[in-house]
Symmetry: C2
Subunit: 122 residues, 2 copies
Amino acid sequence: MVRAVETYVAAFDAGDPDMVVGLFAPDATVEDPVGTPPHVGHAAIRTFYANSMKTGAKLKLEGPVRVAVDTAAFAFHVTFADPNMRVDVIDLFRFGDDGKVVSMKAFFGPTNMIGFGRPADA
Amino acid sequence: MVRAVETYVAAFDAGDPDMVVGLFAPDATVEDPVGTPPHVGHAAIRTFYANSMKTGAKLKLEGPVRVAVDTAAFAFHVTFADPNMRVDVIDLFRFGDDGKVVSMKAFFGPTNMIGFGRPADA
């Protein structure tokens, strides 16, 4: 699970949506951020990540990946070409028996988005 | 929600189980760590925290609290009197409309427990 998270970050930062999608089960769900409609299945997940990568976002892990039973939890922040922009996120990856991610949830909100003209800037 | 998390950490580190319990709804559940039977309701939650505090554990927040809709996610580590012991944890607090925590889940496992003679030491 730790290796899958590290591969996820490396693939995202390399701009490789296919490598990211390969970590997910075919019917996986991606809810990013929590509270928005989930992306379901490989095609939707690939589109979501390809678009995310186009923003120039890069992920920086913070501290060790926490692993509880079938779930990995990890803190990271997202940087952009504009050094004044930053998003602080905690992700949960739930894994199936075959080691593929079946559910991804990203926890962040307006207060975690710095430099976007949102409440965190007030 | 951020204030509740900060109060939680301060109350835990002050060894005040009643202040911790006051953050929870009467029928709240505490699953710590995820994968173990939950503590349900104020009495069980108070006993759990009172015992946790007796270990001398102290909580150190890492980075900002992430807030998504009704849920706060935060990374922290736990220190003990023995400086060689440490546990890395991510908690999720889900809040009800009245601002009380209705569900707490703590994500960590053997690989996140340093100095306990567990796999992380191997």
